[in-house]
Assembly symmetry: C2
Homo-oligomer: 213 residues x 2
DNA sequence: ATGCGACAAACCGTATACTTCTGGGAAGCA
DNA sequence: TGCTTCCCAGAAGTATACGGTTTGTCGCAT
């Protein structure tokens, strides 16, 4: 590993902050401020910010960079993509899955269940994130992997929004258990079906939430 | 229209050059050279180049920016994505399609056919590009549209590679005609089926070519 | 003749300084 | 009091400069 450039460091730092939800809905990220905070010049910060814009994590306004405002319509459009891609991705991942990965998936489910028992929403969120990261890493088709990874932001937003609801928590856990079982058995058909059901359940939960507001 | 920034201008210029195939397989795009050519400083050029990298049009090496080297394995991975996404996209586009767009599609097919009669491969290429651009623009789901658009480069590479073969030319034209008919009739089912056949035919042509080398 | 090492050029990453543009707020007018 | 106008601060955009790293080549020694 040669040396991580400032741009890379700052990019990863900002991405982590965004993914942890530390950036508020109306916080404005300004290059000069971040540069001063990190003790570097504006340029690496600027380039990191613009990379985040290119990947859809931020939008650039004429007055600082902000979070994109994830209109419900956009989230529903992403659900279409998920329905089309993720069942196939899960099926291929199940076929290619190593035993260690399957175990790690089961562990992530158990962690999420334990977190729920302690009303630890953050822990549950992290566990479900880890679950997703792990099965996604097992998808052999790298292009498919990258495409699914790209709308991670929307998926996270949906999780964050729907996760507070106890019935939804149960739906998520049950879905993850079914998936973990299919992955452990390397059953591609069952994995594809379970994933389709999982995505549809997530969409239903999101629609109920969006309608309720 | 406020005013296109240098970065935007250069980005669009470079993208157009890439899409027209003016960048050779082993040309190295260097910021200083492009900056001198355009009469601006390195910074806007750099940012344009990095945006192209983020979108997958280029890869940044330690010695200039180059075209990604599209391994056949990658192209085949993209075909999986196309099989999963484009039939659905075509079906929804057919339902939403305006009469003017359907006419434009038919016109693009006619142009391509005319170009073939004059052995004008470039014209045929441009016509099939226009055909794709137009039906894709009619996809209502913007997320789906963007996702499909992102692997445009691979699609172009396949076209460029397979297009010289006369039987393949006929397959492409026939596929486009079937699609244009389905679009004109706003027949979502037929459009989806035609698109699936079109993608599969393209994949078969590419596989034949890759095996033949 | 070939392999290894040093030198030079090229290019990227970063820093600093300057310019342009946008948006908000204050002041003036109806 | 509400609306319009003008001004200014802040932020993006751009220019120029410098250091570091990689790469390619030339020369020397084996």
């Amino acid at each position: 590993m040669p040396r991580p450039s400032h741009r890379t460091r700052i990019y990863e730092d900002l991405l982590a902050r965004i993914q942890r939800g530390e950036i508020g809905r109306d916080d404005r990220l300004v290059d000069t401020a971040i540069a001063a905070e990190c003790g570097v010049s504006r340029m690496p910060v600027r380039e990191a910010l613009m990379q985040l814009v290119a990947e859809g994590y931020l939008v650039g306004t004429s007055r600082g960079f902000m979070l994109p405002d994830l209109a419900p319509a956009t989230v529903l459009e992403v659900f279409v993509l998920r329905r089309l891609l993720e069942p196939y991705a899960a099926a291929t991942a199940a076929q290619a899955m190593a035993a260690a990965t399957a175990d790690a998936l089961a562990a992530a489910v158990a962690e999420g269940e334990a977190a729920l028992l302690h009303d630890d929403l953050t822990g549950f969120y992290r566990a479900s994130q880890r679950f997703r990261d792990r099965w996604l890493a097992a998808v052999p088709n790298r292009e498919l992997h990258g495409t699914i990874h790209r709308y991670m932001i929307q998926v996270q937003a949906v999780r964050r929004a729907t996760m507070r609801d106890p019935p939804t928590q149960k739906v998520i856990l049950d879905g993850q258990k079914a998936l973990a079982a299919a992955f452990a058995a390397r059953d591609a058909v069952a994995a594809g079906e379970a994933m389709l059901r999982f995505v549809l359940a997530g969409e239903a939960a999101y629609r109920a939430l969006a309608a309720g507001e």
